[in-house]
Symmetry: D2
Subunit: 202 residues, 4 copies
């Protein structure tokens, strides 16, 4: 079990809690740093687990998870071409060695992957229910699915799925505001609320 | 740079985002899991840094930081006898090998410690200003102080100190609510808001 | 159109925004003052309207609405005996002259009432869907139903009903914390979040 | 004590809780409807009181207060020319008959006004401390000052003033998000947090 830090660029960055502006991303679509780390905590990652990151976007979840999974595997699944460009560059830049990029749409592309211990759903491209059904077939009892919802529709649909499928569910509502470090006055600016839904298969 | 997982008890726990109920603590005084991980992110820990955890309480920040600092050092400073009992047991239980327990009151006990790269202030025992002054003398430029405030008084005093001392300041307000996994209905229960203040020495 | 203030007790109280501690109530079940006034605003009351207050509890919504409806009518519907005792006393104390107390369970007791312009649902006793269906049959186009949800279940069910029935829906999430005026330090204490759902019949 | 509704335009509007889009205003600077009504509640207005509305902006607080003060007086104080244009038009449109427009800067223009029972400070033009000192000299014991802060600086300064002057202080933090009624999905959009500070002169 060895973790090397041969990449100097990576060394100058925090081991955890990478600032948002260090990721290349489609403007304004990235999960905020504070939301990202609470999401990672809810995934309860253990060192040798397999994580599916569905709708990986800029890859910030995959990249931070990679650091927490020195003996694990991460599959970053993304279908959007613009996102894929940023995702590839971020994986290279952060030297995310255990992350495998999967180009394509969930749930179709999930068949080829090894069974997950943990699944994060950051985007579903309108196929949320099918993705949840497919994930459920592959997830062992005790496995976790974590999803970030910014709409009432996604929150409701996910909760309905988990209830029907007999999952144990926790919903965490995050209302976060922050002041900017670079202004003369400290005005609180709000992020839009995010609901982090965690379902544990029973 | 080697990280071993010989402790089986530790292996069954997440690498990051340890559930609150895994820590022994004085009832209801512990930093909540969601607040803890955002705090850790704000500390921008790098693998070989030195962290002072002032008012360590149950040690949850020290223990999670230890995992993120495989080559670093953590000093957990606590003066309360009841907390010290839980802290000692938690450090043992989580096999936090790079954490040194410092029994005593800040700022007095800080003299004997090596200079910090990062400082977390979880409690100040009424000596906030003196602690900040003492920390400032030991912190290098670019170093970070992170503090969790639950009162307007602490928020104001910390902000005043940082402004006077020329620090760059960010305040993150966390308003978090969650449903409990073990009930038939999902009622949102709020945590009290926490203000995470980060000061960077200029 | 005349509004008299012959009641001295009432005169010493605010015209609007009555402090929580002025109402007798079953402990801790009352809508908080800040939530109450946002709820009243969402009801868009006009001076001669008819309001149904279903699950009136302590009567705080009915009593404040009464002041805003000098030519209107308010029906305060409550079935719980303990609540009814407090409700009666509060109506008397605040001299709420246009409020009619309706003892019984919704939706059954709604038949006898005149059609509403506005309906507030503060409690449904497990009959939410039936109440919404019954209210819908009596409400004119443009009429409003406002509901306060503290559980994800109620939020979801109400939203589902409104979507199915073709209502225009707004959800306002209130996350409120406050310091107590009577302490030496100002600690922020959170209320549990409340979702104020407003449905307009199309 | 008579309140007439001869103005038809006014009649079609709610007695309380006027929607934001009914006020003409400088873009995006208006107090949001939910914040406005909690502010009005905190002012504890009684029917014959005198209210100073310092930095009246679009006049939304003055206009809603006018309805709650049928025998009272409201002084809407504003110095910004663009705001004054909207303010005048809003007062006319809502038939706010007991509102007197005061053109000028606080604290200078306050000398000419009758003593207030209640003071709302919506803007201070950089003269917050002087305004608070001047208001304090005119306010009777038991009188209330309410202020909406969106920056940590204003929150801190106001709290410091009230503490020094021996006022009893309550701070309410409002974190509000809402879905828009006119979209196919219901995405929660956050307002920036507002701190409503109420000081009671002892």
């Amino acid at each position: 079990l060895i973790r090397e830090y041969e990449d100097e660029e990576r060394q100058s960055l925090p081991a955890f809690g990478i600032p948002d502006d260090q990721f290349l991303s489609v403007k304004k679509t990235m999960t905020r740093e504070e939301v990202r780390v609470v999401t990672l905590a809810k995934l309860r990652l253990r060192h040798d687990m397999c994580l599916w990151d569905i709708g990986a976007g800029s890859g910030s979840i995959s990249i931070e998870a990679d650091y927490l999974l020195p003996q694990g595997r991460v599959f970053a699944i993304e279908r959007n071409d613009e996102s894929l460009g940023f995702l590839r560059e971020n994986l290279r830049r952060f030297n995310a060695r255990n992350v495998t990029l999967v180009t394509g749409s969930a749930p179709d592309c999930l068949d080829a992957l090894p069974d997950p211990d943990r699944v994060f759903i950051g985007g579903s491209g309108g196929h949320l229910w099918e993705i949840l059904e497919q994930v459920d077939q592959r997830l062992a009892i005790g496995g976790l699915i974590v999803l970030n919802a910014v709409t009432l529709d996604t929150l409701t649909a996910t909760n309905d799925y988990f209830d029907n499928a007999g999952y144990q569910v926790e919903v965490v509502a995050l209302n976060i505001a922050r002041t900017r470090p670079d202004t003369n006055y400290k005005m609180f600016e709000a992020y839009n609320p995010v609901y982090i839904i965690t379902g544990m298969k029973q």
